[in-house]
Amino acid sequence: MAILVIAEHDNASLKPATLNAVTAAAKLGGEIHVLVAGSACAAAAEAAAKVAGVAKVRVADAAHYADQSAENLAALVIANATGYSHIVAPATTGGKNFLPRVAALLDVAQISDIVAVEAADTFVRPIYAGNVLATVQSADAVKVITVRTTAFEAAGEGGSAAIEALAAAADSGQSKLTGREMTKSARPELTAAKIIVSGGRGLGNGENYKSLLEPLADKLNAALGASRAAVDAGFVPNDYQVGQTGKIVAPQLYIAIGISGAIQHLAGMKDSKVIVAINKDPEAPIFQVADYGLVGDLFETVPALVAALG
């Protein structure tokens, strides 16, 4: 049996999350095929063919895959699901959106957000905001899985998979993308960054967030993140949110500034290698997970930190 990994891409290149999903797939045992559905997506397909461990790339290129609608993607996967023991996607907002449809149409469970593969039918996944790890076994014929990207290394290059064209499935016509407002940033992407500077309500407003955290992020070549409170208050766009219901990150260094450390926030960052917390409240729960805690007013300590970094 083979494993089908659904690529996340922007037609021109693969999103890094796909590489983590390939690594998880490699632990399942079986030939790995990657499905690339898009519009004028030959470059993304070629990139997929170069990923180490990939045996075949299957490409469905049609205008109605441009928007990656859940309805159309799920229909395409279902039409091509025969022969696969596992169907895998990264647990990004994209994967979370369409893959449950695939599972339901196949009448199987979805195993969400796995962090480890114990056996081809047994997986570990976090529940209760990551406070509990459940080991679950699937009795279904096909295992439909989303992968927590931070739990698996990115697959490397070096593959030379065959590329095969797939017929597009019919356009459902049920959904139309009418707008897209993407956050523009020259910084590394949050989920792929080695260093993250993250700010919370303690920053007070969006101006402070910008004027204090951007120079620090610049010095460290870091991505910027935030707590829910900072996003809700409008300091930064929604896609900055780290946590149980935001992005899950695990950088080499996570610097939490003016963030109290609610369990929902910790759920998104506690697997970071080194955690630094800057908070004026010595009792803030964030200090319980921080490797290095600096008690102090962020309005003084953050500029001092920027200066100290030279």
Binding site: R101, V108, Y128, Q137, E181, M182, K273, G293
Partner: protein, 249 residues
């Protein structure tokens, strides 16, 4: 138009759950239970649509033990018109819940289902999408803005790179994200009124749905604890430690 809102009874988000000593499950005896926060947002949205004259009826549905009646009463105190409890003591997984909801949708014929994007106990993030697939309806997940008009829904969605707006034909399934609205507090008079609203009970059998779990939980465990670190004296100390000890900068 009728809007159906599934509401799940979960361990309150403030409770830090403990794993049972034998690793067979999570100890939820005697902990505070509440409505899943995303479902509160879903109910609030549906009630606002009713107040705006867009919806005519808001139906809250919960699947699970008898205690879910409480969750349904909370939904009705926020403003849902009636509730249906799909009562069972069985463990319910998202596919089973989606099938139960599909059976109810076939009966009740809502024009929209608004549910939470994720239950904060199983963190599955599946049910709404599965329901949409089973019904053959379009979906708009992770909504931060919803407009229903002219037989369609215009939904702004929170996605990894920012925001996306979709136009989907009704009937449809919409799942809520945190910033869709801020749910109101139920007032005492509304809590009293909710007690008199109709609450029906059905069973999975009566709906003809097999809810047998597909996933078996072999064990649960607490993740390795991070060992508490140190407090640094000042910024210079921090920079030195990051450079020489942690070697991350």
């Amino acid at each position: 138009m009728k809007i159906l809102v599934p509401v799940k009874r979960v361990v309150d988000y403030n409770v830090k759950v403990r794993v049972k000593a034998d690793g067979t499950g999570v100890d939820i005896a005697n902990v505070k239970m509440s409505m899943n926060p995303f479902d509160e947002i879903a109910i609030e949205e549906a009630v606002r649509l009713k107040e705006a004259g867009v919806a005519t009826e808001v139906l809250a549905v919960s699947a699970g033990v008898a205690g879910c009646q409480e969750t349904l009463r909370t939904a009705m105190a926020i403003g849902a018109d009636r509730g249906i409890l799909i009562e069972t003591d069985a463990e319910l997984q998202p596919l089973a819940v989606a099938k139960l909801l599909k059976a109810l949708c076939d009966k009740e014929q809502p024009q929209a289902v608004i549910c939470g994007k994720q239950a904060i106990d199983d963190d599955a993030n599946q049910t709404g999408q599965m329901l949409a697939a089973l019904l053959g309806w379009p979906q708009a997940t992770f909504a931060s803005k919803v407009v229903l008009a002219d037989g369609k829904a215009t939904v702004t969605r929170e996605v990894d790179g920012g925001l996306e707006t979709l136009e989907i034909a009704l009937p449809a399934v919409i799942t809520t994200d945190l910033r869709l609205n801020e749910p109101r507090y139920a007032t005492l008079p509304n809590i009293m009124k909710a007690k008199k609203k109709p609450l029906d009970t059905v069973t999975p059998d009566a709906l003809g749905v097999d809810v047998a779990p597909r996933l078996k939980t072999l064990k649960v465990a607490e993740p390795a604890k991070r060992s508490a670190g140190v407090k640094v004296a000042d910024v210079a100390d921090l920079v030195a430690k990051l450079k020489n000890e942690a070697k991350v900068i």
